[in-house]
Symmetry: C2
Subunit: 307 residues, 2 copies
């Protein structure tokens, strides 16, 4: 799957992942009103509104980008109906040829990580048959448990040729509270990055490993160091746009081959119509605004990718 | 909710939480066969088998214990039908008067943590009405993001009088890989424990905070230090029984009031009938075996609680 991701990034010339993180407040009123009218102003109605909103965006941008990243929390907040929409979104995006990164940030002791891996990138054996749960192509994983919390995910990645991005340096303001603390002269995130490189060796695709890392766009200098520590790990970069990161800041996240990083934007694309810059599109044109925002982002990222 | 937890621990004299972490392999054949016959050998059938198995255990032990802890990964592995069973289990346990700790180990940047908090211990506003998603009483949370990943959970805890247990020192063998690394002379888990104490001050119940911590039974000496760092935080203790922890090792997890810790056992109780010790119960008597295992655990833990 990492080979397919690289190939699609080359083909689209867009190291971009669109974050499908739909807050109710982002969804144009005409969509929520119609969904509430049909299903009620309740979790079923909200989940339906999210689904229609997502579909509009995916249809508008799917030829421009290699991948999407639905944030499961935004679906989980509506309980079961929300997760039904999450699954529908995963399936629809795959139908449209997009690679799906499930932003689930799971992680636990070994036996529990194995269950999460089965549910998201693998499958379960029930009475001799194999069934897949949420069936994403990649997921995000939390490293706090160390190697034996990661290994079950790595095993499934290897078996299924799917992938994961392990949190190394997150994009939020307080990420340094623990991640930047010095251990033997190096910040914790560097130690995690070294482990990502080590874990990834055993699960290599052609040029990159099935095991990548999450490093926030908001910390470009740290991205530079982390890039060097794990040259074969793809970096999933959140924090671009709404969280403050800009294209030119991201030059060090990429390798000299122009690859090695894929940059996420969520709000900046899916709610682009709410920005002054795209206000001409209006709520009716939210999907076209998203498309324009992807085009602009692609342009902005050219400053980062030195070929 | 922390006050209710303390009260129920006092009343049952059992600082015990039963981990409802049903692996298919634990479930007696008579249950899986009946469920597969009715629903098919598929995720619906598996989820139904898990539900029947859980119900049997809950009915057998609910008068003895204060709380249960369903591990959401074990449900998530079956996709949507599994999560429907998770929700049904949460609701049923609450009906039976049990406190429910959703073992979800979520954690993310602020806006995403807010969505997880809404989905599990809070609710969402949809068209002016308030809806709850999974509706647990407590959840477990991962600290890797630092304060701004924790605050949205803490805010909901305060508003809803619910609670959370933050991972400090996990029970798995490789937990030390990052958690034990020294930062300014102290292991990372002590720094996290200090933060738990700090975060918890603002969300106090009567004697204990709504914000507790997870500390593995497998690391009793570390438990002692952590107990001192955060005297007002309840400790949720996994790793007892099947993972190797014993009652007498847990004395330092408790405060002098005989309170301050609640010990989880999953496999050791829900699959007790598979142990030699309880083999007389047989698969048909799995729920009675679970009850006996709770009685024995209660007895074993008396060695830990000095009154």
């Amino acid at each position: 799957m990492i080979n397919k991701l690289v190939e699609k990034i080359k083909k689209t010339e867009a190291p971009i992942v669109v974050g499908l993180d739909p807050m109710l407040g982002y969804i144009p009123e005409q969509i929520t009103e119609a969904a509430y009218k049909e299903y009620g102003a309740n979790p079923d109605g909200a989940a339906e509104a999210v689904w229609r909103y997502n579909k509009g965006i995916v249809d508008a941008v799917c030829d421009l980008i290699p991948a999407v990243k639905p944030q499961i929390a935004m679906y989980e907040q509506f309980g079961i109906p929300g997760l039904v929409t999450f699954k529908k979104t995963v399936d629809y995006c795959k139908e449209k040829g997009l690679i799906v990164i499930g932003d689930i940030k799971r992680g636990d002791i070994g036996s529990t990580s194995a269950a999460y891996a089965a549910g998201h990138i693998g499958g379960v054996d029930i009475g001799g048959n194999y069934f897949r749960g949420f069936d994403e192509d990649f997921i995000t994983v939390n490293p706090y448990f160390g190697t034996d919390g990661i290994k079950p995910f790595a095993d499934v990645c290897k078996e299924e040729k799917r992938g994961m991005f392990i949190l190394v340096k997150t994009s939020n303001p307080s990420s340094g509270e623990f991640q930047d603390r010095l251990i033997e002269g190096k910040p914790l995130y560097e130690h995690v990055a070294s482990k990502v490189a080590e874990w990834g060796k055993d699960v290599m695709g052609e040029d990159y490993s099935y095991i990548g890392a999450v490093v926030g766009a908001t910390y470009p200098e740290m991205g530079k160091v982390i890039r060097e520590i794990m040259p074969k790990a793809y970096i999933l970069v959140p924090g671009y746009g709404a969280q403050g990161g800009k294209g030119k800041d991201l030059v060090h996240f990429f390798n000299k081959d122009g690859l090695g990083a894929i940059v996420n934007s969520s709000r900046g694309i899916i709610a682009a119509y709410k920005q002054d810059k795209y206000s001409e599109f209006g709520p009716e044109g939210y999907a076209d605004a998203a498309r324009q925002a992807v085009v602009d982002m692609k342009d902005d990222l050219k400053q980062a990718v030195v070929k």
